[in-house]
Amino acid sequence: MSALKPSRATRWLAAAGLAAASATPAFAQQGELVLYCSVQEEWCRPMVAAFEKATGIKVLMTRKSSGEFYAQIKAEAANPKGDVWWGGTGDPHLQAAEEALTDPYVSPKLDELQDWAVRQARAAKFRTVGIYAGALGYSFNTQELAKRKLPEPKCWADLAKPIYKDDVQVANPNSSGTSYTMLATLVQLFGEAKAFDLMKSMHKNINQYTKSGAAPARAVATGESLIGITFQHDAVIQAVSGAPVKIVSPCEGTGYEIGSMSIIKGAKNLANARKWYDWALSADGGQAIGAANKVSYQVPSNKKAPVPAQAPKLGDIKLIDYDFAKYGSSAERTRLLKKWDDEVGKLAK
């Protein structure tokens, strides 16, 4: 009879596993939502928790950078698995909209949004909408800088100086919307030829091309990298939690992003996707979560939503007139990324 015990034990395990797995849909009655989240996971989690609490819909979330989700949505186009793509810079969302990978939807909350958010929606024929804005820049670790007695960098051109060899970190523009924004910003600031020359010189100073756009800010905070190119709000999170970082708005001018949200075409939970869409745009719903949990220092797109005190003030920064229509278009984005791969990505270290 003892010979029966092991098979019973394994059966118990299987039963326990299944029972535990079926304990999770406490919200099964309201259905579910498959969410593709492109901001940092510390922001995704409270968003999911708040939405589940407010509506009772179970949210299944994965986090990937915006470029990666664009590629995934494109690959899954014949049989879409996701419902909503929330967060990430606007350019991949615009490209997806142009390629009809996302569905148009005019939310009732559209009137409450800032002009730049509505312009984003119109540019994409309402296939996407702006949910936050933030300025590009870079940050450096003040303690490391002082220890190594290096001068403070102030401009984009400074990042190419040989004294910062192996000290700069930025994401790969193919996977990260943040890094693509940097690419497009440099092109609009200096013209394409000079921009690529600058990136080639910067390449010698890059210690790692990360996949996630905000990872360099974390590396700067821990001292793993001296300088990190990210959106300024990513670095603010680190500064607020006590890390010795200083944020720089480059002297030549800088670009900015309009974080966006889109409903995926062919979404299996379309009704729930629209519920998320409206909730994410509402001032007391999705627009307030980031600031409340101290995980977002972007400027929210709803006019009535509270703007965090430490958010970089867009009015004070020298911003370029970022041409979202051009640099979010499929042709231009593909061309620039390929050029980056060929001329910068393949270079020797």
Binding site: P6, G17, L18, L60, S175, T210, S212, G223, K349
Partner: protein
């Protein structure tokens, strides 16, 4: 449909040959039609699969009645059904994935493009040797694998010598070393190394404060990955070489000593040649495991590209190029198949057992003193290093930020991942890690019994029955050993993304992947266990007019209980720690623990990754201990001399 099949099967009027042809034609025709319709057709539902299975049963039984398989219906059913499943879930996807290498983005046959992809300098460039910059990714992988192969063999030998001949202090070492690689997810060591030696790592911090050594990123790249793989694969080499050393009869060495050979000479002329096959086996095993390893390179490789990570980024990254991924997969598969074939040819047939039953064989010769001291010293140092890595993982989840040296104890990381709350009168698992954990346990629990059944039935048929095509069947069951996880993962998304077999995004594909990846282990365990059971038991059962099915059920299965338990446990733990195949197959809806952890590592969120890894390891260790307690002992003898497994 199933009733019709059952009727046809039991009919005594219909000729068997006709039934065989008819059922085969129906199965192939149905599948063929489904594939011809391709993306525009409808996907098979569960009852399609059931009907196809029923038809396959009918085919097998009629074939048996025609005279094949010595007229044994049970054997015929087992062989045909398993072969068909293997064909559908291993050969078809891998074939389709390799085919994708010769197709362009529109799906047309493009031989020029295929050649360009397969022979691209990206893969084969030798730039780094000539003082240039980058080597091709295949060259990188092979370099890494060779270094790791030599390294682990050497280290394993040193430790095996120390354990067996260096004194009595190491007997418990064996059980610890045997368990470690089974319960450890493949990236845990890499994670520990980053925490210790990364730019802001613990040791780097101490070196910088105490000795003013500047902090660099030296751990990222070839050095780091080599170190991680050495630490991960040495226990396996140790087990093989320990077994080999134990199998060498001491009487040969004693004979040499009585002929006045010095200890060095005994070692050089007697022990070493007997060890050579095991050394070669260990090298090949480590070579293949290194090639197929995904978890360590993804964390530590930095700018050093290897095949497994490059395939992953070609598919799942922002540059979605299935053709290029397929070309890389072909190259990787080529390497592992060559290594697998070499291993089968050189070592599959050789006998390294020198122990016979003749009385006291004596004590093994002691090592020369210098060698002994060196071995023992080095072994202790290496073990200490390995244990330090595990200690980092054990502690890291409980402190604020072990990487920065911030040791304030806090449970917030566990809280973020594993929080449980009361919501509306029910337990709600609100931590972000629960979804993936439950899915992983569920999938592993479903896959483990299926693996055991398929594996052991195959083992029975291979060892106990004689029929035409037995060798081929044995080869077929072993082939999935040679296919690296990354290749299977890519193959599954390519093959099962469109109708009729539209399985991606679901739970079924994860279960299938685990079942067919782990099946060879069940086969091996079954073969080893059945070798211990005398054939005369089967024959006695047969003379008492029991059918094969009854013999299987009443005689063989009860005696195989230990092998069943071992296979169940191994498949379960392997499914929980697998990453290289499933990283392509996990979705938002069905996420897996290892995939989630890698996501956290890539985002730089190490504390949560470490906490989750700790949970996984503790969970699997507890499981092993419970099973061990329930059954007395679990013989996890999966690593026999002739074993070769490609990665997690």
């Amino acid at each position: 449909m199933i009733q019709a099949v059952a009727l046809a099967d039991s009919s005594r009027v219909l000729p068997h040959k006709l039934l065989a042809w008819a059922s085969a034609a129906l199965v192939l025709g149905w599948l063929g039609l489904g594939f011809a319709q391709g993306a525009s057709g409808t996907a098979f539902a569960w009852w399609h699969y059931a009907a196809l299975l029923a038809l396959t049963f009918l085919f097998a039984r009629s074939l048996a009645r025609c005279g094949f398989f010595i007229g044994d219906v049970t054997v015929a059913t087992i062989v045909i059904v398993i072969a068909a499943l293997l064909g559908l879930f291993i050969f078809f996807p891998v074939g389709k994935a390799l085919l994708a290498a010769v197709l362009d983005n529109q799906g047309r046959f493009a031989p020029a493009l295929a050649i360009e992809r397969l022979l691209s300098p990206d893969i084969w460039g030798l730039g780094c040797f000539g003082g240039g910059t980058h080597c091709g990714v295949a060259v990188n992988s092979v370099m890494l694998a060779t270094i790791v192969g030599f390294g682990t063999t050497l280290l394993g030998l040193v430790m095996a010598l120390a354990a067996q001949r260096g004194g009595q202090r190491f007997s418990s070492l064996y059980s610890v070393m045997a368990v470690l690689p089974i319960v450890t997810p493949p990236f845990v060591i890499a994670l520990a190394l980053v925490v210790l030696f990364g730019r802001t790592g613990l040791v780097t911090g101490w070196m910088s404060t105490l000795f003013d050594i500047p902090r660099t990123r030296w751990i990222y790249g070839l050095t780091g990955v080599t170190l991680a793989q050495l630490l991960t694969f040495t226990p396996i080499a140790f087990m093989i070489l320990h077994g080999a050393l134990a199998a060498i009869s001491p009487s040969l060495e004693e004979a040499a000593q009585t002929l006045r050979a010095s200890r060095t000479r005994v070692f050089r002329t007697v022990t070493w040649p007997l060890l050579r096959p095991a050394l070669a086996n260990s090298f090949l095993l480590a070579f293949v495991e290194s090639l197929a390893d995904f978890g360590n390179p993804v964390v530590l490789a930095g700018n050093y590209e290897v095949l497994s990570t490059k395939i992953f980024f070609a598919v799942a990254g922002a540059q979605h190029e299935p053709g290029r991924a397929a070309a890389l997969a072909t190259v990787l598969l080529g390497f592992t198949l060559v290594a697998f074939w070499l291993q089968q040819r050189w070592l599959g047939k050789a006998s390294y057992v020198t122990v016979s039953g003749k009385g006291d064989a004596g004590l093994p010769a002691a090592l020369p003193t210098g060698l002994r001291r060196g071995c023992v010293g080095f072994a202790m140092a290496w073990i200490a290093f390995t244990l330090a890595c595990y200690a980092v993982i054990a502690v890291g989840g409980f402190v604020k930020d072990i990487g920065r040296g911030d040791m304030t104890p806090m449970l917030a990381h566990f809280g973020a991942g594993f929080a449980i709350e009361w919501q509306g009168g029910r337990l709600a698992f609100v931590g972000s890690a629960w979804d993936s954990f439950f899915t992983t346990v569920e999938v592993a629990a479903i896959a483990a019994p299926l693996t055991a059944v398929i594996g052991l039935l195959s083992a029975y048929v291979i060892t106990r029955q004689r029929f035409a095509g037995r060798r081929t069947f044995e080869f077929l069951t072993m082939v999935s050993f040679a296919v690296p996880g990354t290749v299977i993962g890519v193959a599954y998304i390519v093959a099962f993304n469109v109708p009729p077999l539209e399985l991606t995004g679901g739970l079924a594909i994860l279960v299938l992947c685990f079942v067919f990846r782990n099946m060879p282990v069940g086969v091996r365990a079954g073969i080893a266990a059945l070798a211990q059971i005398d054939k005369s038991l089967d024959e006695a059962s047969a003379t008492l007019r029991a059918s094969t099915l009854r013999t299987l059920h009443k005689v063989v299965m009860p005696l195989l209980k230990p092998a069943i338990v071992a296979t169940l446990v191994f498949s379960f733990t392997h499914a929980m720690t697998a990453v290289s195949a499933v990283i392509f197959l996990a979705t938002a809806k069905y996420n897996l623990a290892t995939v989630y952890i890698i996501g956290r590592v890539e985002a730089g969120e190490y504390p949560l990754a470490i906490a989750y890894s700790t949970v996984l390891i503790v969970f699997m260790l507890s499981l092993l201990l419970i099973v061990q307690w329930l059954t007395g002992s679990v013989k996890l003898g999966r690593r026999s001399q002739a074993d070769l497994v490609t990665g997690h």
